[in-house]
């Protein structure tokens, strides 16, 4: 079987079997060759715009990347929609359904791509669940366990904007707030806009608590878009070895 030689794949550093993630166990970022960049922040903090611009920058540069959004797995979409429309969700089932959605994306996209040496950009990640579901009253310890299977990001950007700025951005551009989005299930206020404001205030508080414990890179969401993007690109370039994700031609030189 000497002919086998030709078929041999280029040496790819394959993680030893023991480091393969076990579902329900934390996945350290060294366990895979890819890199994970996450943006977090309240609604209206500017995070999606910034991640879009970062993605464009990397796409134009030809880097291997994948973009993933919170709450987007087709598998549990119908259940989530039904639960929301019929208001069947409680804090616990709301949280579990989002975890199921994330698990599906994690097991079928994020983990395989990280193992396949991709840059993965995530618009919202597990911290969204921690902030939102804790604000709804779920036990923080239970939540931390629930998402223990998630790989730890290489960089987590936290876009921080004062409550009024963020809330006004949303309220001026999108007059109709959805029931759960406005936190109406918490019974904070009968007025949707007011309920939204109170709910967002709680979420902001929860995000702030995670800055140190989860090594957030805090960015000022009120800065001009292009200046903020420059900061973000500099930080990405300093924290991640981007050459590794460059197109093959560039890699050769």
């Amino acid at each position: 079987m000497e002919t086998q030689e030709v078929l041999q794949k280029p040496a790819r550093t394959e993680p030893a079997k023991s480091t393969l993630p076990q579902p329900g166990r934390p996945v350290p970022s060294r366990a895979y060759p890819g890199a994970l960049i996450v943006v977090e922040g309240t609604d209206g903090s500017g995070k999606s715009t910034q991640l879009y611009l970062l993605k464009r920058w990397l796409e134009i540069g030809g880097y291997r990347l994948h973009f993933t959004e919170w709450n987007s797995s087709p598998l549990v979409k119908s259940a989530t929609r039904r639960g929301k429309q019929r208001r069947l969700l409680t804090p616990t089932t709301f949280s579990l359904l989002h975890a199921a959605d994330f698990a599906d994306r994690c097991e079928r996209q994020i983990m395989p791509l990280l193992q396949g040496d991709y840059l993965v950009l995530a618009d919202r990640y597990i911290y969204t669940a921690f902030a939102r579901d804790t604000a709804r009253g779920c036990s923080p310890r239970w939540l931390r366990n629930l998402y223990r299977f998630a790989p730890v990001p290489d960089v987590t950007f936290y876009f921080r904007a004062p409550l009024d700025v963020a809330v006004n951005r949303i309220l001026s551009g999108r007059p109709k707030l959805k029931y759960y989005e406005a936190g109406m299930d918490l019974g904070l206020s009968y007025d949707r806009a007011e309920s939204f404001r109170l709910f967002q205030a709680r979420i902001l508080e929860e995000y702030d608590k995670m800055v140190d414990s989860d090594s957030f890179v805090v960015l000022d969401g009120t800065m001009p878009v292009n200046k903020l993007q420059k900061q973000m690109r500099d930080i990405v370039a300093s924290k991640i070895d981007l050459k590794r994700f460059a197109p093959r031609a560039a890699e050769a030189e």
């Binding site: 076990q22 009253g137 036990s139 366990n145």
Partner: protein, 283 residues
């Protein structure tokens, strides 16, 4: 999956350390104290469930666990009739029966395009939806809830598929601790025969075909159910299961169940003969 067996014995979470931001259930005035961290038999395994107070529980939660073909459903049907004849209101629960995601899970199973973790979390969603919308309301109104399987099956299924054991029990930290948990223990070989006779077939999931244990349907079933059974043996000690011999006749098993339940509920007589509608089960 022997490499997953090395985990330290799962301690279900002891007690919530920091009280979470207390949030009142919808439409109740803000209440600052959430559920007390009771360790008594009526309370939760670990964390309290958001917005529920276990002291409101006046009914009883009775769980019947056991593999497919152990006789669970037959026994529950008979127990319901007996309890109703004794004047108790009975509610049943079981897997995939929630309004929220019951059907979605059926679809996922049919399509067989789901990963183990997602499936485990969908089952957890289904479970808690039933706890919050079916089991707890019933228990608060003094109803007897007969649960056809409970968290133990769900934990066992996850663990044999390689999901961390602590993770699985942590997931169910807010499950209510049952008043009685029966385990109808049968040999997988017996269960196979019973299940096959029911439908003239064995389903993909019952046989654990997703685990690639064997191409032979029979051996796949036996190996899978043996793994589950081993998990049950571990949990039986930890969670005080009342183990019953599921190989015994239906009337014999039913009698033992009635005795324990009568004790629990303070029913004096355990006499029971099924009505003609159920007499076909009595063999």
């Amino acid at each position: 999956m022997p490499d997953q067996e090395r985990d330290k014995p799962a301690g279900t979470a002891t007690a919530a350390e920091a009280p979470a931001v207390p949030v009142p259930p919808v439409s109740t005035p803000p209440k600052v104290t959430s559920a007390p961290e009771d360790t008594g038999p009526q309370s939760f395994f670990g964390e309290p469930l958001v917005g529920f107070d276990p002291s409101e529980i006046t009914g009883s939660l009775i769980v019947i666990e056991g593999m497919d073909g152990s006789g669970r459903s037959t026994q529950i049907t008979l127990l319901q009739e007996w309890l109703e004849s004794e004047g108790f209101a009975v509610q049943t629960s079981g897997l995939r029966r929630s309004n929220l995601v019951g059907r979605d899970i059926d679809e996922l199973l049919a399509k067989n395009a789901v990963t183990r973790l997602t499936l485990a979390l969908m089952y957890a969603t289904d479970f808690f939806d039933q706890v919050e919308h079916r089991i707890l309301p019933a228990l608060r109104s003094g109803t007897i809830v007969l649960a056809d399987r409970y968290i133990f099956t769900l934990i066992g299924r996850g663990v044999v598929r390689g999901i961390n054991r602590d993770y699985m029990s942590g997931l169910y930290a807010m499950a209510l601790r049952p008043h009685l948990t029966f385990w109808l223990n049968v040999r997988p070989e017996t269960a196979f025969g019973r299940e096959f006779r029911k439908a003239q077939a064995i389903s993909y999931w019952e046989a654990g075909r997703d685990m690639s244990l064997s191409h032979d349907l029979y051996w796949s079933f036996i190996r899978y159910q043996t793994m589950i059974k081993r998990e049950f043996e571990v949990m039986a000690k930890k969670f005080n299961f009342i183990e019953l011999d599921g190989e015994a006749s239906v009337p014999a098993v039913n009698k033992l169940l009635r005795q324990r339940i009568a004790d629990q509920l303070g029913i004096r007589s355990t006499k029971y003969t099924p009505s003609s509608a159920l007499s076909h089960l009595w063999r």
